[in-house]
């Protein structure tokens, strides 16, 4: 039974740039409130991190309920919601924030505000959060709390004069953070007697318990045995268990307004539990759902093909298992003349794509070829009909196309001003339109509109290398706009290789075509016959390279005792070749595909 009055609950999240100390602070808060013993601490935190890694896919929201007896003598329930920090999961972040009333803004006192922090803090402000600035790592010699405090006020526009100065690493002033939570954050509001309204914050699949749903109760009560309904999905389930995370799961009889906890209702897949959906009582439903629900839509697509064609079923199976725990990624079977059978997969963003690929290879031991990521284009035909294009290979005949629209993003880049020049050059090369350019001390903040197409194409790597890692970058989807786009086909000995075709702006097409041909020339080993590699737009060749025939490849000695071995070698080679990507008589090694698909113009 939970009978904590609303006035004694505080729900908060922590906003921080990577490495600014969010996890360490969370650990300290758990430790300071006695959630775990010192010994459990190490074990538990490790477990949690392992879990986080395992569930890394959507980088799920984590939550823990802390009991803190404040200086006023009262005991408060502090619910910490650890939110994902990356833009790919912006919607998930916004739902996590909607479950809280306030945020701790953790800034490294030696580094200052970064782009990622900025995007998240704006989201928190939008969610009407009370923001408590925390200056971390003040024990470091390089810490400049005054400068960073000023920067927070200038860039973010919030009062930082009473920022809490801490060192999460040494445990300095953790008490100050806890007191600030109690005294500066507002308690949640809610009506315990109203019909149930709970926000579905997140869900994940547990192999023993089925789907675990993380909820924030707005009104009413959520009890064991209750029949609940997902308002957007329409599905009805019976609640088996309700409880808190401390951080271990701890069942209770019911959750009241203002509480954050979990439910478990024998649900088989997270696809039935849309983040942002409203959970209500099936018999006494709420009149209207909580605002802001939207299903997650993939914005980046790529083909995933098994290196070994025999692994196709294993890939299907693995994707199915991943989707159990991540409803935000989509997949459908696809076949390619070049790569055989595989899947076209949709992701929330590039990080999401990388995580899924990484998990498939690490956890499911699959060797994959991923085609170049493509954004979703809107193709309008001459009859005015719009179709969404996820795969360059499916681009219709240009004659049938009236116009093509591509998605644009709004990107925020923060960079020390001595690297600003190269960042601006990069953005301009990528068809960027500058929206804003401001300075805070020696750090510049550039806001650009960029075609997403240009960002999925090696933008991060270029940004990192051109600024020696000093730039931070974040983006949000902006709008669709008409663009002069063409499909570039890559031909090997006159045969198009479907998996290498890509869509680019006409102004960049030739340079990219040339770059990919040159790269392939370096990567494809010499073979028996010479190989022509061409890039073409429609029937027009825009770039060409030739790989000469290999000059010598013959066994010096071959006598009576060698025949069996040589024949078997030949047979083994032929068997191996079935797994190679053959184009006519040309074999393209996996490494060439991978590198060609990563090419930078």
């Amino acid at each position: 039974m939970t009978d904590t009055p609303l006035s004694h609950i505080r729900n908060f999240s922590i906003i921080a740039h990577i490495d600014h100390g969010k996890s360490t602070l969370a650990d300290r808060l758990i430790q300071a409130t006695g959630g775990l013993t010192a010994r459990e601490m190490t074990e538990q935190v490790l477990d949690t991190m392992e879990l986080e890694k395992e569930r890394g896919i959507t980088i799920k929201a984590q939550t823990v309920r802390l009991s803190y007896t404040a200086k006023d003598g009262e005991t408060y329930a502090l619910n910490l919601m650890d939110t994902p920090g990356h833009v790919d999961f912006a919607y998930e972040v916004s739902r996590s924030l909607a479950a809280c009333e306030g945020s701790l803004l953790v800034v490294d006192a030696s580094q200052g505000v970064e782009a990622q922090t900025l995007a998240n803090v704006y989201q928190a402000i939008e969610a009407n959060h009370e923001i408590v600035p925390i200056l971390n790592k003040i024990d470091l010699p390089a810490a400049e709390p005054d400068r960073v405090r000023e920067q927070i006020e200038d860039v973010i526009g919030i009062d930082a004069s009473d920022a809490v100065m801490i060192s999460a690493k040494t445990g300095l002033n953790i008490e100050g953070v806890l007191e600030a939570l109690v005294t500066r954050l507002p308690p949640p509001k809610g009506d315990p007697n109203a019909p149930l309204k709970a926000l579905l914050v997140d869900s994940w699949y547990d192999p023993y318990l089925g789907v675990i749903i993380l909820v924030r109760i707005k009104d009413g009560k959520l009890r064991r045995g209750q029949k609940i309904r997902m308002m957007a999905k329409g599905a009805v389930h019976t609640v088996d268990q309700v409880g808190f995370f401390r951080p271990k799961m701890e069942p209770v009889e019911e959750l009241g307004p203002g509480e954050i906890g979990y439910i478990n209702a024998a649900i088989k897949t997270v696809a039935d539990c849309d983040v942002g959906d409203t959970i209500t009582d099936d018999r006494r439903p709420a009149a209207e759902a909580l605002p802001g629900f939207k299903p997650s839509i993939p914005v980046v697509w790529c083909g995933l093909f098994p290196v070994d064609a025999d692994d196709f079923e294993k890939l299907r199976d693995s994707l199915g298992k991943l989707r159990l725990n991540d409803a935000s990624f989509h997949y459908e079977a696809e076949s390619s003349a070049a790569l055989g059978f595989g899947f076209r997969c949709g992701f929330l963003g590039l990080l999401h794509l990388e995580i899924i690929q990484e998990r498939l290879s690490r956890e499911f031991d699959l060797d994959l070829i991923a085609t170049a990521p493509s954004v979703v284009y809107r193709i309008y035909d001459t009859k005015g009909q719009m179709t969404e294009l996820h795969n360059p290979a499916d681009m219709p005949d240009p004659m049938a196309i009236d116009r093509i629209e591509e998605p644009w993003i709004k990107a925020t880049i923060m960079v020390p001003d001595d690297h600003l020049g190269s960042v601006l050059t990069l953005c301009n090369e990528r068809r960027g339109q500058q929206q804003d350019l401001t300075y805070v001390g020696t750090r510049a903040m550039a806001v650009y509109k960029l075609p997403l197409n240009e960002v999925v194409f090696d933008f991060y790597d270029r940004l990192k290398s051109t600024t020696r890692g000093y730039a931070s970058f974040d983006y949000q989807m902006d709008s669709y706009a008409e663009s002069d786009l063409v499909r570039i086909s890559i031909l090997v000995n006159q045969d198009p290789v479907d998996a290498l075709s890509f869509i680019a702006h006409r102004s960049a097409a030739e340079a990219r075509g040339r770059a990919i041909c040159a790269k392939l020339k370096d990567l494809i080993p010499k073979q028996l016959f010479k190989i022509a590699i061409q890039a073409a737009i429609g029937g027009r060749i825009i770039a060409r390279e030739t790989i000469g025939a290999l000059s010598k490849d013959v066994t010096a000695k071959c006598y009576g005792g060698d025949i069996s071995r040589k024949r078997k070698l030949l047979e083994k080679q032929k068997e191996g070749k079935k797994r190679m990507r053959q184009f006519g008589k040309v074999e393209i090694p996996q490494s060439a595909f991978l590198a060609a698909l990563k090419i930078d113009a």
């Binding site: 290999l550 010598k552 071959c558 009576g560 025949i563 040589k566 032929k574």
Partner: protein, 386 residues
């Protein structure tokens, strides 16, 4: 019935060469009498199932057959002549190392019936001989060649080139000196790193670096040019001879004829006429000398089970051997020997492309790999063979 080529393996060496992956074993003491008896016994066993076929060649290989006592060689030759029908021009070759002790036995071998010697010179460069782990010096090699030429009507020797760091000029100079010493035949091999050899370990560590593919091609072409100037024409990838002096025994391998292999680790290909089911089998003896000898003593042979060679396998084997020859493969012979038409044994698209690229030609009902094609034969076979 196919005429027979007979291979006799003497598995012992004084030292193991670091590049060699042949079935050779270093023994302090070699029981000559025991191995002589075992080889004769296995030869009789093999002859019993082959019948009195025409015998075209005998080849003593190894190991180091020049460590055999001439009496052993003589006994085996006499036995082979008794068991088969020797051709008038029966070619009998013995492989020899050019040490003075071995050269001292050359007369004995000639008296035993050997009419061709193949000497493992490998290099005329002292440093290269040390690198190759050879037991002889360049002057010893030259002396052995001179003795060999006086004693035997036919003589060949081996050289290994495309060695680490070897320049084209250095190789041409060495080869010219060798050609001055040559008789009617030379085997000129590019150094190859074979699995399981001492060189393989060095190569993997980067302590041996072979010339790159382009350099190897240049060296290969230089070799043919120099040899040609002395009247030795290439007739196989690594073999050069005066016209008519080609190794008849080795031609049996490349023409995919029948050959019987006697002795530890020896391989054979034996065909049996239609009456016996038109079979072609691959035979193989146990590799370890002592185990092989025990088996022969117990049951008359040291052979494992014969393996039937299927039509497709015959076709692959005949292609991979036959295209090594400058004369190529006669289509009629291919079909009778493998049971598959040549046109059905190759990938038509590769064939067309290879002809267009100048790697293959079809003339007089033969499929021939050109010089350009032979230079890339392994890659060509990989694409051509079905």
């Amino acid at each position: 019935m196919e005429p027979l080529a007979l291979y006799i393996h003497w598995p012992f060496c004084l030292a193991k060469c670091p590049y060699c992956d042949f079935n050779s074993h270093v023994r302090a003491e070699v029981p000559q009498a025991r191995f002589r008896a075992a080889l004769i016994r296995e030869l009789e066993w093999e002859a019993a199932r082959l019948g009195r076929r025409s015998l075209r060649s005998i080849f003593f290989g190894g190991g180091t057959p020049s460590l055999m006592e001439p009496e052993t060689v003589g006994a085996l030759i006499a036995e082979a002549r008794r068991l088969f029908v020797p051709a008038d021009d029966l070619e009998i070759t013995l492989e020899a190392n050019p040490t003075s002790i071995e050269a001292g036995r050359f007369g004995g071998y000639r008296d035993a019936g050997v009419n061709r010697v193949s000497i493992g010179v490998q290099s005329l460069d002292e440093e290269a001989l040390r690198m190759l782990g050879r037991q002889h010096s360049a002057p010893q090699a030259i002396a052995a060649l001179e003795i060999g030429r006086r004693i035997f009507p036919r003589l060949s020797f081996d050289l290994i080139y495309a060695r680490p760091g070897q320049t084209e000029a250095a190789w041409r100079a060495e080869l010219r000196r060798a050609l001055d010493l040559a008789a009617d035949h030379l085997s000129l091999y590019q150094l190859t790193i074979e699995p399981g050899t001492a060189f393989e370990a060095l190569h993997r560590r980067g302590d041996i670096v072979l010339p790159d593919e382009d350099t190897a091609a240049i060296l290969y072409e230089a070799t043919a040019e120099e040899a040609g100037r002395f009247g030795l024409a290439p007739y196989e990838i690594s073999n050069y001879a005066k016209p008519g002096s080609e190794s008849r025994h080795n031609l049996a391998y490349w023409q995919y004829g029948d050959y019987a292999g006697i002795g530890p680790g020896a391989h054979g290909r034996l065909s049996f006429p239609a009456a016996s089911g038109d079979r072609l089998v691959a035979t193989r003896r146990h590799r370890a000398p002592e185990i092989w000898a025990e088996r022969v003593e117990a049951s008359g042979h040291g052979s494992g089970a014969d393996v039937e060679v299927t039509t497709e396998e015959r076709a692959r084997e005949m292609l991979l051997m036959g295209l090594r020859l400058t004369a190529g493969i006669p289509a009629r012979r291919f079909e009778t020997r493998t049971g598959l038409a040549l046109a059905d044994a190759v990938d038509p698209r590769t064939l067309a492309m290879a002809i267009e690229a100048g790697y293959l030609v079809i003339t007089d009902d033969r499929l021939i790999a050109t010089a350009e094609g032979r230079l890339r034969l392994d890659a060509l076979l990989g694409a051509l063979v079905r």
